[in-house]
């Protein structure tokens, strides 16, 4: 069966392999988002804290990570660690690499979100007798959260697409699955069109979820 330049039968043949890759891409993205957001939150809090050394360390982290290609970071982690005698599973290295990288961007997003909240909010919270962390949890972060959604959605999509880079450390996710199939069959059109559509579906799901969340918040929100 033929659909334009695409051989549907061949696509059905390679589909299981690509789907397995896609599942791995989803897993990687999920862990990268969870750990990246945690890292990002702590680094953001460090960067706005009153403690100089924390601010400095946070600054160093985001400076380095955002200033060096992710590809290089992944290679460094994978081969560098192995060279130093630390052998980690590909999956672990991939998750560390993606979360550390995503964390730096997410930290900047969260920091900007927190700083965009009127200073009077923190003052009102403190003047009531809240501790700094109570004020953050109850007053600042819930407000920042609303403003964070759009840029966070973007960042999550970027992380999903960047997860393709872990193919260079032999992690068989969607991108590498496609490359392996290409090497074995030399049929790039079917392979990359199918893989591309899979990426597109996954990113579209993300965009839709975030659009919904934003709209829901816009309705429930007072302002």
């Amino acid at each position: 069966m033929q659909l334009g330049p695409l051989d549907i039968n061949f696509i059905l043949q390679i589909l299981p392999n690509l789907l397995l890759g896609a599942v791995m891409t989803i897993k990687l993205t999920f862990f990268a988002i969870v750990f990246g957001t945690l890292i990002g939150l702590f680094v953001a809090l460090a960067k706005i804290s009153g403690i100089k050394i924390l601010r400095w360390l946070g600054g160093l982290y985001t400076w380095v990570i955002r200033g060096v290609p992710l590809l290089l970071q992944l290679m460094f982690l994978y081969y560098g660690l192995a060279f130093a005698g630390i052998v980690l599973e590909e999956f672990t290295v991939a998750v560390i690499g993606l979360s550390v990288c995503g964390g730096a961007y997410i930290a900047e997003i969260i920091r900007a979100g927190i700083l965009s909240i009127d200073k009077g909010q923190m003052e009102a919270a403190l003047s009531m007798g809240m501790t700094y962390s109570q004020a953050m949890r109850r007053v600042i972060l819930p407000q920042a959260y609303r403003r964070l959604l759009p840029p966070m959605g973007n960042e999550f999509i970027t992380l999903m697409k960047d997860s393709a880079l872990v193919s260079v450390i032999c992690m068989t996710e969607l991108m590498r699955a496609a490359m392996l199939l290409q090497n074995a069959t030399f049929r790039p059109v079917e392979i990359f069109v199918t893989a591309g559509l899979m990426y597109l579906m996954m990113t579209t799901v993300f965009t839709t979820i975030f659009d919904r969340l934003e709209r829901r918040l816009a309705i429930s929100d007072g302002d």
Binding site: M128, Q134, P142
Partner: protein, 263 residues
């Protein structure tokens, strides 16, 4: 109740408070007036340690604010729980209300009792409803701040501060951000508090209100207290030329404000 002794505070090179001393007794209402930039807000913020002071002393309810002296004579900053505990007994009302926009009016008033005092939701709700009724907003409990007028927001902010059962209330120009027709409703809430015997320090440009509510009026200029006296004395026979100058300049503008002058 609260005593400030020779409080000094600088921002960088700019000395904003140049040795301010003020004692406020229980149940007393002190109104601070003065030109903008004279350090009135900074002084209020030093009282609940939103700003640290460079030197001097602030003592609230017998407890030093910001710094405490140990038995061995060493001075230690008061931090963490102790500071929070202290702040929870001082209510503050801001010029720009600073209500929490993601909570309803009721939620705003419940927040302190629940989060800071650890009261149950029910108990806090009960108290919050009572306080909203007290400031005339029982029917606005479920409204978000953005759905309220400035005057209503400020009254919610007052209820929020009262929910902590404070021993002292600080007001920093509570009506300066309001449209003129909304000023009266906020001032009348504050007057009620005064008549109930609440200890208050109020920074305001509403001279008619100051005259009516104050036990004592303090005139501040350029980081110093220039003159202190009864409202009668400050408004009718100010001793210091700068007080006279300031009063004549604001009273000229004041004729436009609808709040009725009493006296």
């Amino acid at each position: 109740m609260v005593k400030a002794e020779n409080v000094r505070k600088s921002f960088g090179k700019l000395q904003v408070l140049k040795g301010v001393s003020l004692e406020v007794k229980q149940g007393e209402v002190v109104v601070i007036i003065g030109p903008s930039g004279s350090g009135k807000s900074t002084f209020l913020r030093c009282i609940n340690h939103l700003e640290s002071i460079d030197s001097g002393n602030v003592i609230f309810d017998g407890q030093p604010v910001g710094f405490k002296q140990l038995a061995n004579g060493k001075v230690m900053p008061v931090k963490g729980k102790e500071l929070c505990q202290l702040r929870s007994r001082i209510g503050m009302v801001f010029q720009r209300f600073n209500l929490f926009p993601h909570m309803t009016a009721l939620g705003n008033v419940m927040e302190g009792p629940v989060t800071v005092l650890g009261k149950s939701k029910e108990e806090a709700r009960h108290l919050a409803e009572e306080l909203l009724a007290k400031v005339g907003l029982a029917d606005k409990a479920e409204s978000f701040p953005s759905q309220l007028s400035g005057g209503q927001q400020q009254r919610v902010a007052i209820a929020r501060a009262l929910a902590m059962k404070p021993k002292l209330m600080l007001f920093d120009e509570p009506t300066s951000a309001l449209d003129p027709e909304l000023v009266g409703e906020v001032l009348s809430v504050i007057k009620n508090l005064a008549s109930e015997g609440m200890t208050m320090i109020i920074v305001t440009h509403e001279m008619g209100f100051a005259r009516e509510v104050a036990d004592r009026v303090v005139f501040m200029d350029e980081g110093k207290i220039i003159e202190t006296g009864t409202p009668e004395q400050i408004f009718t026979t100010p001793r210091h030329p700068r007080t006279r100058e300031f009063l004549s300049s604001v009273l000229r503008g004041y004729e436009k404000v609808p709040y009725p002058q009493v006296g």
